[in-house]
């Protein structure tokens, strides 16, 4: 019973945050449509046959280029390995930058404490 209550609480916070985000994005969209001199088509959608130079993967019909997001468009074998390595690399870098100085500091503090105890003895 307690666990169900906790799950409901987590889901409730999740729902409230989701609602706020949807409202914020919709309000932002309404605002940008109202403020732009709208002449029939949003500027980010290109006409049929245009290239996808900036890699957004958006097509005029509102659809997306599958390959851009889902990898069905024949992404090279090395590309996904690069993506995976990049993600692991970013995390490893962040962990090293934060955890290493903390670990060294801890070791130093322990060493100082050991030395002070030895000095007292």
């Amino acid at each position: 019973m307690k666990t169900i209550g906790r799950i409901l609480l987590i889901l409730a916070i999740f729902s409230v945050l989701s609602g706020l985000m949807v409202a914020a994005v919709n309000a932002n969209g309404q605002q940008s449509i109202a403020s732009s001199d709208f002449d029939g088509a949003p500027s980010q959608f290109r006409t049929e046959g245009d290239g996808d130079e900036d890699g957004d993967g958006i097509r005029p019909g509102g659809g997306e280029v599958r390959g851009e997001r889902g990898g069905r468009g024949g992404a090279g074998g090395s590309r996904w390995i690069f993506g995976l390595l990049k993600n692991v690399g970013v995390m490893a870098l962040v962990v090293t930058v934060i955890a290493l100085p903390r670990s060294l500091g801890k070791k130093k503090r322990i060493q100082v404490a050991v030395n002070s105890v030895k000095g007292e003895v």
Binding site: T3, R6, I7, I10, L11, I13, F14, L17, S18, M21, V22, V25, N28, G29, P42, Q44, D56, G57, I58, G62, G63, E64, R66, R69, G70, G71, R72, A75, R79, W80, I81, G83, L84, N87, V88, V90, M91, L93, V94, V95, V97, I98, A99, R102, S103
Partner: protein, 172 residues
Amino acid sequence: MTNEVQKNSTPQTKTKLWLDVLIFVAFLVTMDPHSSGIAIHEWLSLAMIATLTIHLLLSWDWIVEISKRFLGKVGGQNRINYIVNWLLFIDGTMIMISGTMISEVVLPVMGIQFPADFAWRRLHDMSANIGLLLLGIHTALHWSWIVIAFNKYLIRPVVRWIPARQKEDASI
């Protein structure tokens, strides 16, 4: 959080460790839809809601304790941890919601389809990148727990198992 391995009961710490490893691997797979394909990307992300909920439930006592004392006496590390965890939760929600809005597989299977919105796509990419950084910080802040738990439940048992196996082989 550092002394969680000692404080928590062994089965719970073990569960937590393997669940965290599972979440980490799942996160890496979902972060790269080029390798997994869009269907796995979406279904795995959906499944992660359940695993992340269990992850939160396993840390519930800590969450409640720090929530009560946040404005009072809390150590600096716990305070930073708490803030990072909230940011991760908010960012995770953003990833899930924006992902739902641009879903190509899961929602159409359920017969739901939202109109394509450029803003959600941008938000999804941005929140995923922020999520990667936040997960890195979250991992770094729990690094000592990870090292202790890995030593206790993976490395030490394996190290103990190898000589035992060699002895068994020698006796045969």
